[in-house]
């Protein structure tokens, strides 16, 4: 069918298509963004092959390069020439790789650009080993020998199984050391600090009788004694863990000796089968969600950030739900409907649009400095001048976010209440129930899915909010979790780590952004998954609810 172009425009069909395109662009952006995060985030844990290149650095020099290909791009040969590089190829575009050579402590840099055309030979020897270390990032090379106190115990082919065996032993000892250091010595330090505060409090209150002081001194001596015992244990473990080392040949032929206590794991990606890689992948994912971060958060896991986020969100839910529901019930069921309630409703609605940073400023000024400062002055004079609650912490963060998400809960609950047909209220009242009974036995249970929706949306918002948290309690690295085995177990005054802030901090504040980037994608993916799941749940509950009430109305 021929359509006249002029008429086509005049009727506006062109516009319809443009509108459709605008929508498609929006949808594509969402899907594309989610895919981008998913691909990059998931890809991070897959064992990548390790390459060995003979690379022509200049006309006279051919280097051996060992490492992973981190990124690939096509650039104009012209641009490279302008930057002073020699490009032999006649083609306009050349391929270059961002090559991760690791070994930061040996070579200084762990990334370099490599031109595809200059690679003269590529090999993937199975014996190429990746050593993941606690410090300085990955190490690439050939394992040549395993040593015990400087003496070679295994060489050549037998070095690899020996290394695996010994790494397992070192890993066990290392986790013992961690346990003693973090849990046991941490607990002693914590009790010591409490003793100090107790003594200081007595001094302030004037009841520092000799007996009391003696009791404190005795307790301190006891703690000191158990500390000494632990310290001895630690020293012994340290000497055991430092026994072994491994000699690795790096790409320039140098033999580098690595102490084994600095190695987390060793693997040979080129020798791994698909299922080996899969197992390795799962192990890495587990490490990611369950381990503490290493290397200024750029490696290891993000467990403290997950824990902090979850705990903060739970605290916030505990605060926001009752208040939000009470406010909604008051507005909908008790307050006299009129211009005042309408005004309040508009104001509450608008608060959802107030920038989150404003809540952060309020939280810092009011909760932290004003409330926290006064709490410190009243209840914790012994800790002065170090603030206890007068400094950002998880409680204040939860309160601030509770305030931020209050409108969400109020609006959702109110909507739920308004959807309940008045016939139900009237029926209950007609049967002689009081208002509160009607509310408690019929209205609230019926509105509970709406409250649930509100709460889920609030949680989703709180989990992704970062700007206010930067002011009221989030830190890049918290020394201890807000929940641990030391009395009183819940430490609401402590600072915490947060997934969203982790993304910001590692992605933008860390010294080695390039190395940290994959981890940031993985963290972002985790956060997105949590939030999308929560939102989908809220949407599902809401749809279900609509169906239910539609049935009620008829």
């Amino acid at each position: 069918m021929r359509v006249n172009l002029k008429k086509w425009f005049h009727d506006g069909d062109a516009w319809v298509w443009l509108n459709a395109a605008a929508l498609s662009v929006s949808l594509l952006m969402v899907v594309g963004l989610l895919l981008l995060i998913a691909v990059r985030g998931l890809g991070h844990f897959w064992a990548k092959p390790v390459h060995e290149f003979d690379y022509r650095e200049s006309d006279t020099q051919v280097l051996r390069l060992i490492g992973e290909i981190h990124d690939e791009e096509r650039v104009l040969a012209e641009q490279l020439r302008a930057a002073g590089m020699e490009v032999a190829s006649d083609e306009e575009m050349v391929t270059r790789y961002l090559f991760k050579t690791g070994n930061r402590d040996v070579g200084g840099l762990d990334f370099r650009w490599v031109l595809d055309e200059r690679i003269e030979a590529r090999r993937h020897p199975e014996s190429l080993t990746v050593l993941e270390r606690r410090e300085w990032g990955n190490f690439y090379g050939y394992v040549r020998a395993v040593k015990e106190q400087g003496k070679v115990v295994a060489e050549g082919e037998s070095a690899w199984p020996e290394l695996q065996r010994r790494l397992e032993r070192v890993g066990n000892i290392y986790s013992q050391i961690q346990k003693i250091q973090k849990d046991e010595i941490g607990a002693i330090n914590y009790r010591m600090e409490r003793l100090r505060l107790k003594g200081r409090k007595m001094e302030l209150e004037g009841d520092n009788t000799p007996q009391a002081l003696a009791a404190i001194a005795a307790e301190r001596a006891e703690l000191d004694a158990s500390y000494q015992v632990l310290q001895k244990q630690l020293n012994e473990l340290y000497s055991r863990v430092q026994r072994d080392s491994v000699a690795v040949e790096v790409m320039d032929g140098q033999l580098v000796e690595l102490p084994m206590d600095k190695v987390v794991r060793a693997y040979r990606p080129n020798a791994m089968s698909f299922f080996d890689k899969l197992a390795f992948y799962l192990e890495k994912v587990w490490e990611f969600v369950s381990d503490d971060p290493r290397e200024a958060n750029t490696e290891g896991g993000i467990f403290p950030a997950i824990f902090g986020t979850v705990m903060m969100v739970i605290l916030m839910s505990i605060i926001v739900t009752p208040f939000g529901v009470i406010a909604a019930v008051y507005l909908r069921e008790y307050a006299k409907q009129g211009p005042v309630t309408r005004l309040i409703r508009i104001a509450v609605n608008n608060l959802a649009g107030v920038p989150s940073i404003v809540y952060g400023v309020f939280g810092l000024g009011f909760f932290v400095y004003f409330l926290g400062g006064n709490i410190d002055a009243l209840f914790f004079p012994e800790a002065d001048p170090a603030p206890t609650f007068g400094t950002p912490g998880i409680l204040w963060a939860a309160l601030t976010l509770a305030l931020l998400t209050l409108p969400v809960v109020i609006v959702a609950t109110e909507e739920g209440l308004s959807r309940i047909p008045s016939s139900i209220r009237e029926g209950s009242l007609a049967l002689g129930a009081t208002k509160i009974e009607t509310l408690w036995r019929t209205i609230l249970p019926m509105a509970s899915p709406a409250m649930m929706t509100g709460l889920i949306l609030a949680v989703a918002r709180a989990a992704g909010e970062v700007a206010p948290l930067m002011l009221v309690g989030v830190v890049k690295l918290a020394p201890s979790l807000p929940l641990d085995g030391n009395f009183p177990f819940m430490h609401l005054e402590r600072k915490f780590m947060h997934l969203g802030f982790h993304i910001y901090d590692v992605g933008f504040q860390s010294p080695n952004v390039e190395a940290a980037r994959p981890l940031v994608y993985a963290t972002a993916l985790l956060l997105v998954v949590i939030i999308v799941a929560l939102n989908l749940a809220a949407i599902a509950i809401r749809n279900h609810l609509r169906e239910k009430y539609r049935a009620l109305e008829h």
């Binding site: 009727d11 069909d13 443009l18 309020f362 949306l457």
Partner: protein, 750 residues
């Protein structure tokens, strides 16, 4: 059941009834209190922000305390100083005595008689200096240090005098000819000390003492003196000043004429300029440095004070320029006392009045009638909260000063200010620095500008996409597709902005940098390509067209758009070579003079636009979907096409709703923090260039708030920024909400 008869016993029933009613009542009140409490908590945010900001606008006040006659006697003071805690003061008398006295009652605590029995003239180093040079009548100067030390005998804080001779108790020779020194100016630095002096026989001498510390004892310093006589001093010098860097010497006469010398090399002193500080006919009665020793304050016989400081011109030569002047007192200025930690100063005049000023804010804070007699000296305490003024009759007047935030004025917050070291008046935000002499620059203009700039680019991207998309969803889309689209858009709204910011900063910004021509090609190709394709689609046979039913056009568009995006990116590099000589950024800079930052407004616009689209989309969609159907049907029945109905009937009806959607979207863009924080360089520039970054109010708060000292001016200004954001979004949202309310009413009446 038989064990449960109470229901049927009347008094028990009554009790139960009462209990139920009581519960009901309790619940009613409980919920009312709770509900109102929550609403109150929300209102609290506004009031708390206001409460913190309010002190910025409280006018300063002074509190008179009882005065006394000069402690220790001995004629008028030559110099006065106070300790940090306003407990002890010290004054130098003409007889060469330093008298320490208690500020509260004027009781003399200690007196130190120096070797100089009759002081010809005296000068104290710098604004906050404690080193004083006393000149005798034989061309010599004695250096003394008046200090204070705080001790805690029996846990009671006590301030005690501490009087020392840092360069020995023997006076230093200043004039080899031994004539009387009429004027003295002292400057002490790490490596050298300068003493400029005017002798009674009108020679201007410049003494430079190079310092050499001995090997064994760091504190033992020997002075190596050299002296130069300045040539060409043809004015009757009454004021001498040397800057802290010991590079500039200013000599001024009573008629306001000033000679500006470069003394950075004592062997090659030369006159830089000669100028008049005051208007014709006004006599110069006081000349002092402002804190930092950069700006000069010239007090005139008409009560005016003019601030001058060196400004670099195009040839890199610094010459003095008159920056601003204050004229709120009408008697001759007798003394100027600069504050020790801020760019403020006190001015005492011949009618017994003292004015408090702030230079940067260009603000006359307060004028107070201190005495009924002319004053001769005024001094401000190091913390700026106390003042002593000496009258000509020898009486000491005491005032406590409440002046927390003099640096804030409309001028300093919103207008162009000429700051020290800048060539001209500018809008600058620079809140803190390690240097004590730092002049804080609290202009909110560049931050507000950055906020609006970011919001502008975001809206530029978001508004068309969101509104067009919403129109399609609400009006043309098949219901089956709606059930997919709406949740997707809701997910889009829920995506944490930190993730958008992270992707914008680490993925999008480098991507745009490498494919800049492609991005612009896409802007052009996308609408054209879509139109071309849809026109082509219309020409296809009916059977093929029926494969995609009406209302599913958006699905058909997806592959088209993907292809167009791929095409633009693939064309990017060839385009760059053909049109821009291989490097578009270099071309922009060299040919158009436009600078290119990797993290720029374009990136922010895209990322923040992404965040704003769902907000605008949902509200617009609501408004259009809510338009009563019979309007549409009427129009269609009259023969209008789908689009004609939409554009002439539906959109017109829904336009207030669309407007409010845009406003709410704008509110969100203005307050967004993480995206701008991560996707721009956060430099507070005033520049509409799309390839340059910005610093927004919200990002600024996020960056600076944690480090700001509680209750300081900086802290309160940040709260003010938060309040501005709050008000802005609140007003916009309320307006939008009211419009929507009215719209809903209109719909229901239709």
């Amino acid at each position: 059941m038989s064990a449960n008869p109470p229901l049927f016993q009347p008094e028990q029933l009554l009790r139960l009834q009462r209990w139920r009613l009581l519960k009901d009542k309790l619940a009613r009140h409980g919920i009312a209190v709770g509900g109102l409490g929550v609403i109150f908590a929300i209102v609290l945010i506004f009031f708390y922000l206001f409460y913190v900001v309010f002190p910025l606008f409280i006018p300063a006040s002074v509190e008179r305390q009882e005065g006394y006659t000069l402690p220790g006697g001995g004629g008028a003071s030559l110099h006065l100083a106070l300790d940090e805690l306003n407990e002890l003061g010290v004054r130098y008398t003409e007889t060469g005595e330093a008298v320490y006295f208690r500020v509260a009652d004027g009781e003399v605590v200690e007196r130190y008689q120096t070797a100089i029995g009759k002081v010809a003239t005296l000068d104290t180093e710098g604004v906050i200096g404690r080193l004083t040079a006393l000149a005798d009548e034989r061309g010599q100067a004695l250096l003394v240090h008046h200090g204070f030390r705080v001790t805690y005998p029996d846990d009671v804080r006590t301030v005690l005098p501490r009087f020392e001779y840092p360069y020995g108790e023997k006076p230093l020779t200043v004039d080899d000819e031994g004539s009387v020194l009429r004027l003295l100016e002292l400057r002490d630095g790490e490596e050298r000390m300068t003493i400029a002096a005017m002798t009674a026989d009108e020679r201007l001498l410049l003494n430079t003492f190079a310092k050499e510390s001995s090997f064994l004892n760091e504190d033992e310093v020997t002075l190596e003196r050299s002296v130069t006589q300045l040539e060409g001093v043809d004015i009757d010098v009454q004021f001498l000043l040397v800057d802290p860097g010991q590079r500039h010497l200013y000599a001024a006469a009573a008629n306001g004429e000033l000679l500006h010398y470069d003394i950075s090399d004592p062997d090659e002193i030369h006159l830089i300029e000669r100028l008049h500080l005051l208007a014709e006919g006004t006599r110069l009665t006081s000349l002092k440095f402002l804190l930092g020793g950069y700006a000069l304050l010239a007090g005139g016989s008409d009560g005016s004070v003019t601030q001058w400081f060196p400004v670099r011109d195009a040839h890199n030569v610094s010459t003095l320029q008159s920056i601003r002047s204050f004229h709120d007192q009408d008697a001759a200025v007798v003394d100027i006392a600069p504050e020790h930690r801020r760019k403020g100063f006190l001015v005492a005049d011949g009618k017994g009045r003292v004015g408090i000023y702030h230079a940067t804010a260009q603000r006359t804070v307060l004028i107070e009638n201190v005495a009924d007699e002319p004053l001769s000296l005024v001094v401000i305490s190091p913390r700026g909260d106390y003042m002593l003024a000496e009258g000509e009759s020898g009486r000491m007047y005491r005032y406590r000063i409440h002046n927390q935030h003099p640096e804030i004025s409309w001028h300093s917050l919103w207008e162009k200010v000429h700051y020290e070291g800048y060539a001209e008046a500018e809008y600058i935000w620079q809140s803190s620095s390690a240097d004590n002499d730092f002049e804080p620059k609290f202009s909110l203009t560049p931050l507000s500008f950055g906020t609006l700039k970011a919001a502008f680019y975001a809206m530029l991207f978001a508004v068309p996409l969101a509104i067009l998309g919403a129109i399609y969803t609400a009006y043309f889309m098949a219901p089956g597709m709606r059930t997919i689209v709406k949740p997707t858009i809701e997910i889009m709204e829920a995506l944490p902005t930190v993730i958008l910011g992270f992707l914008a900063g680490l993925w999008l910004a480098p991507f745009i940098e490498s494919y800049l021509p492609g991005i612009f090609a896409l802007l052009l190709l996308l609408p054209l390509g879509v139109l071309a394709f849809s026109y082509f689609w219309q020409q296809l046979p009916r059977q093929i067209r029926m494969l995609v039913p009406e209302g599913w056009e958006a699905v058909l568009m997806i592959p088209v758009i993907l292809f167009l995006v791929w095409l633009s990116i693939a064309l990017s590099i060839p385009l760059e070579q053909v049109l821009f000589g291989g490097d578009m950024r270099a071309w922009l800079y060299n040919d158009l003079g436009i600078g290119f930052d990797q993290r720029n407004s374009l990136v922010v616009g895209l990322a923040m636009g992404f965040a704003v689209i769902p907000t605008i989309f949902s509200i617009t969609e609501d408004a259009i979907f809510g338009v009563p159907k019979h309007l549409t049907f009427g129009s269609l029945a009259l023969g209008a096409s789908r689009w004609q109905t939409l554009s002439r009937v539906v959109i017109l009806t829904a336009s207030p709703g669309i407007f409010s959607a845009v406003m709410i979207g704008l509110g969100r863009a203005v307050g967004e923090t993480m995206i701008v924080l991560m996707a721009t360089g956060n430099t507070p520039v005033m520049d509409m260039n799309i390839f340059q970054g910005m610093r927004t109010l919200s990002a600024n708060i996020a960056v600076e708030m944690p480090e700001s000292e509680v209750a300081s001016t900086h802290y309160r200004v940040l709260f003010l920024a938060a309040l501005v954001l709050f008000m802005f979004t609140f007003v916009f949202n309320t307006l939008a909400e009211l419009i929507r309310h009215r719209l809903r009413k209109k719909y229901s009446s239709l």
